[in-house]
Symmetry: C2
Subunit: 320 residues, 2 copies
């Protein structure tokens, strides 16, 4: 697909992605918005996105095009570009999609059925930002567009090391950084940086972590009392389970966060051998094979030992 | 430079890099060794490298070519390839370099004077591995060579986010991962993973870290007693100061590790505004503008407050 052709003649364009937008969603939406604005300077271009992190907001360009109230400026857009998801995950923007004269869907999720009028779904691509770049005329991409797409790619490739990273991804990222924006600072802020509260809570979780099953399982727990002591929110604990999983020899990591007295948010990660989705499902949760979660009540020791049993069963099954 | 031409006819080749070899040094040396072995299957090829980390060793290919005793198998090699440094940093391999019939120096350090007979020093390159790749015939590179060079590039580019990363670096890395080795697992092990003891010590250092100078300076201290309690060595603390520097708002990070009672290894990092080399120098140490260190005696509180004063002076100077 070539977006220059598809957008030709549009005088109003809506752009949106999924609810609770991540870096790839925001990056692909804003990169596309800036590109279309350059292509069609007189067109109305509105981006509909829910709230996202302050760090992302600080590093993305074109955020002024976002209408956080989800109120369309025209009753019917000539074109709706849906990025990084299908229309079902657009949330408040779905009615705007349904009303649009023409709809385009750009995505990299293999589960995407392509429910727009024009679909460009590339499951081999690292990110929606990568697919979006490939719809553009490279000659018209500029530093601002490049910066947004680069952040999107960094987010979904784990800084170019997840298995979705291809030679093509690296080549695109190379062309993007060639525009000369301050990518070292951006990666530092978006990818590596924690605030002080997050560092302390992460520190506590690492320090207090415990190995089980001959070092194959690691778990850590943060109680409501500890959370309150550090004036931290559950959001401040988001990266902890991945850091636990980065412990040498570990096959699975388990992090328990007390949300209300006796109610635990359980996060699970696997380094490959354990299917943590099936474990989360047995607690009424879900997710991916390598990353999943659930919410459950009880004493944390009971929850940990139940999950440890399920991990052990799987590891023994793998060796049988 | 084209290594195929330069190595033509050599029947004995020595390869080496700097003392205390890091990922780029080992990766460029072993990648070059495997390439030359393929080119000249009958030649003697010896790699002279000191000890390096178990994680690197596990992920590098061609380690069996290393002669850790630094004993040459021939009295005079036809060719010596010195990578990632000048001959002055070769350590025990320097006499072997001096005796060689022909010497080649491949490096990316701007300070390199090019003291070999043939020099290929490219200061704009991300890594010696990148320069080494550019000397090779891409058609003859295989998955094993690619894996070594990729690890070298990952190490010296900070997973492609340090400012030395260029479009060319990304393109080469893209070609390398295209060979299909398990780069996600390699990056996970080489770049992200800590052992359990390292995780606990890091956790303690993060948890106990203190902000000073309105959040511009962060410091943390690990005493000898704590080190002994966790059965950790000073090597287990190597990444801590960088993790401290990843705290939002921080300009400089300071980590003090007690080596002997009352003797502290001081590590400093800057996020750009502070020149920590000059601070380390005032304590008899040294290093780079953004990463430096020294060893000093005294009470840790005195050391921290002296360094905080120097950081504050620089930050005030920057605002004046």
């Amino acid at each position: 697909m070539f977006i220059d052709e598809e957008a030709k003649g549009a005088s109003s364009i809506a752009i949106s992605g999924h609810v609770r937008p991540d870096g790839d969603c925001v990056g692909s939406c804003l990169g596309m918005a800036l590109y279309l604005k350059k292509l069609l300077p007189d067109a109305v271009i509105d981006v509909f996105l829910g709230d996202f992190s302050e760090t992302l907001r600080r590093n993305m360009l074109g955020v002024e095009l976002i209408r956080p109230d989800f109120k369309p400026t025209v009753s019917q857009y000539d074109l709706f570009v849906c990025l990084d998801c299908e229309k079902e995950r657009l949330g408040e923007a779905e009615p705007i999609f349904n009303a649009a004269k023409k709809t385009i869907n750009i995505d990299h999720h293999i589960s995407n059925h392509g429910s727009a009028m024009v679909n460009d779904v590339v499951p081999t691509a690292s990110s929606a930002s990568e697919v979006a770049y490939d719809t553009m005329d490279p000659e018209k991409v500029d530093a601002a567009i490049a910066q947004d797409l680069y952040i999107g790619m960094v987010t979904d490739t784990g800084l170019f090391h997840f298995s979705n990273t291809s030679r093509h991804s690296m080549e695109i990222a190379g062309r993007l950084i060639d525009f000369g924006f301050d990518f070292p600072k951006i990666v530092q802020e978006v990818w590596f940086q924690n605030n002080y509260v997050q560092q302390q809570i992460l520190g506590r979780a690492l320090l207090e972590s415990v190995l089980m099953l001959q070092g194959k399982l690691i778990f850590s727990v943060v109680t409501l009392k500890e959370l309150q002591f550090y004036k931290a929110s559950s959001k401040d604990c988001e990266g902890i389970v991945s850091e636990l999983a980065d412990t040498e020899g570990v096959e699975a990591a388990l992090f328990l966060l007390e949300m209300r007295p006796g109610t635990w948010k359980v996060s699970l990660r696997s380094n490959g051998k354990v299917n943590v989705a099936s474990i989360a499902e047995s607690f009424g949760g879900g997710g991916h094979v390598r990353a999943s979660g659930c919410t459950t009540d009880g004493r944390y020791r009971d929850i940990v030992s139940r999950i440890a049993g399920l991990v052990e069963e799987q590891l023994e099954g793998a060796h049988a």
